[in-house]
């Protein structure tokens, strides 16, 4: 299976077309092109500093780009006249360091976006929030504050918060790499559940077990470039580039 084997008829949910980005004189993304079709799970991996976080943050315009274009569900992310807050509200994002709002209770964290952005009533927002909290197994913690939860629990709340906006696609930036090893599983379980339900996902992670289990494709980055963009089995069984081979042998060694 190769990249082109993704259902060709479906319009891409995320289309990244030849994007480049510089920080001052330093180029951090170099002519990157890839796409994520509806229902697909794409894992992005690569060495530290290769541009994975930057790439994923360009999708909801948290990072601006200087060249190329991105569309989400057909809407140009950089296009003039695009309602960015609205676009972002349809793209869920989960961060390495959770980024729950520490001054708000778990319930209020889950309600904020729904109330302010979607304009839902307090009752509707609360009921959606509590349903999602139950789904990630944390109903008992609704009234607590983020600082009172473990890392794994916070990350599950963060996933619930992103889901509270009914996103059409979810972005994850190393969601388990700040967690103690014993908490990684509980977060990955929620993500696997999401993938199985058909959520479109773009996931930066080094959890190759997760990739093997649910990914459709793997994008391998190095020094700001997409070096390999292949079906999961192709990537793991016969990576084409030396850089991907070296990376895989290192990461699978432990």
């Amino acid at each position: 299976m190769s990249a082109s084997a993704s259902p060709a008829s479906a319009a891409p949910m995320i289309a990244i077309n030849g994007i480049s980005k510089w920080y001052g004189p330093v180029q951090v993304l170099n002519d990157c092109t890839t796409q994520v079709t509806k229902g697909e799970v794409v894992v992005v991996c690569g060495p530290s500093g290769s541009g994975k976080s930057t790439l994923i943050k360009t999708v909801n315009a948290l990072e601006p780009i200087q060249k190329g274009s991105i569309t989400v569900d057909g809407i140009g992310v950089q296009a003039k006249g695009t309602d960015l807050p609205k676009l972002r509200s349809r793209v869920g994002m989960v961060f390495q360091h959770f980024e729950l709002f520490p001054h708000l209770s778990i319930t209020d964290n889950l309600m904020l976006g729904q109330r302010k952005v979607l304009g839902r009533s307090a009752e509707a927002a609360r009921s959606t929030g509590l349903t999602l909290l139950e789904r990630v197994g944390l109903s008992a913690h609704a009234h607590k504050y983020p600082g009172q939860l473990s890392g794994g629990q916070q990350q599950r709340v963060a996933i619930a918060r992103a889901l509270s906006m009914n996103p059409i696609v979810m972005l994850f930036d190393e969601p388990t790499s700040a967690l103690d090893p014993e908490m990684v599983g509980e977060v990955l379980d929620v993500m696997v559940g999401l993938a199985k339900e058909g959520m479109t996902m773009m996931v930066v992670t080094h959890e190759m077990g997760f990739a093997r289990k649910v990914a459709n494709r793997v994008v391998f980055m190095d020094r700001g470039e997409i070096v390999e963009d292949a079906g999961k089995d192709d990537f793991f069984d016969k990576p084409r580039s030396d850089r991907a081979q070296t990376f895989l042998s290192k990461i699978l060694a432990h």
Binding site: K57, N60, L62, P85, K86, L87, R88, S89, R90, V91, G92, M93, F95, H97, E99, L100, F101, P102, H103, L112, G113, K116, V117, Y145, P146, G147, Q148, R161, A162, M165
Partner: protein, 230 residues
């Protein structure tokens, strides 16, 4: 000197000292602190906006205010505010604003410079990831500031904001230069009138001491209560 310390001078003037003087001091402090924190927060947001047309004037304003002695600002404003009012409203004669309004405007504008530095540090104390998370949910700039960044910035800075307010509380005694009577001014008037300088100035010092020490203790208690659970 202390042999004829006369408590009755103090007791007899208590209604005037507190009913007139302290009420004035507390009112001016409360209004100027509220106005100063709001204006200071806006100035801090301008400085951090990344937009030169907003950041540079804000920076100049803060540095200008902080380099002037407060007495001078109070004095000048008292004479300038009527003309500024005239210019803004297009009236034919200087607007008479009264000494209290003039003092309030002065303290608000002056303290805003100091509060803005505190709020700037407060906003910067909130990690960049919080802004990203708020934006990723679809919150716009105003919503991000109002619901995510400022509440945290404010809580992180409560001790400094209140400490600055205590300084403001003491500084309000400078209103004597435009003939207003605060607590210190009231004590001073009684002292002159009755020739009882020792009693009145010792009493005034004790009152300031008690109020400021109590306030600092409260600040510490409050700090523990508003602190964000981490």
């Amino acid at each position: 000197m202390f042999s004829d310390f006369d408590l009755n001078v103090i007791l007899g003037s208590l209604p005037y000292l507190f009913g007139t003087g302290m009420v004035f001091t507390v009112t001016l402090t409360a209004l100027a602190a509220t106005g100063g924190i709001i204006l200071g927060t806006l100035i801090a947001m301008m400085r951090l906006s990344g937009i030169a047309a907003l950041a540079i004037p804000a920076k100049i304003y803060v540095n200008f205010m902080r380099s002037l002695p407060l007495v001078l600002v109070i004095f000048w404003f008292y004479f300038l505010v009527p003309y500024i009012g005239q210019w803004m409203t297009g009236a034919s004669r200087p607007i008479s604003v009264g000494a209290f309004t003039s003092a309030l405007v002065t303290f608000t504008l002056f303290e805003a410079a100091f509060f803005s530095e505190i709020m700037r540090a407060g906003i910067q104390s909130v990690s960049k990831g919080q802004t990203s998370a708020a934006q990723a949910l679809g919150l716009n700039y105003r919503q991000t500031m109002a619901t995510v960044i400022l509440p945290q910035a404010f809580r992180n800075m409560v001790p400094l904001l209140l400490t600055q307010t205590i300084v403001l509380f003491q500084d309000t005694s400078l209103v004597y230069v435009i003939s207003l009577t605060d607590f210190m001014g009231a004590a001073s008037k009684v002292a002159q009138r009755d020739g009882r300088l020792v009693e009145m100035y010792i009493f005034a010092a004790v009152v300031y001491l008690i109020i400021c020490l109590t306030a600092s203790t409260l600040v510490r208690r409050l700090q523990r209560r508003v602190a964000i659970i981490r």
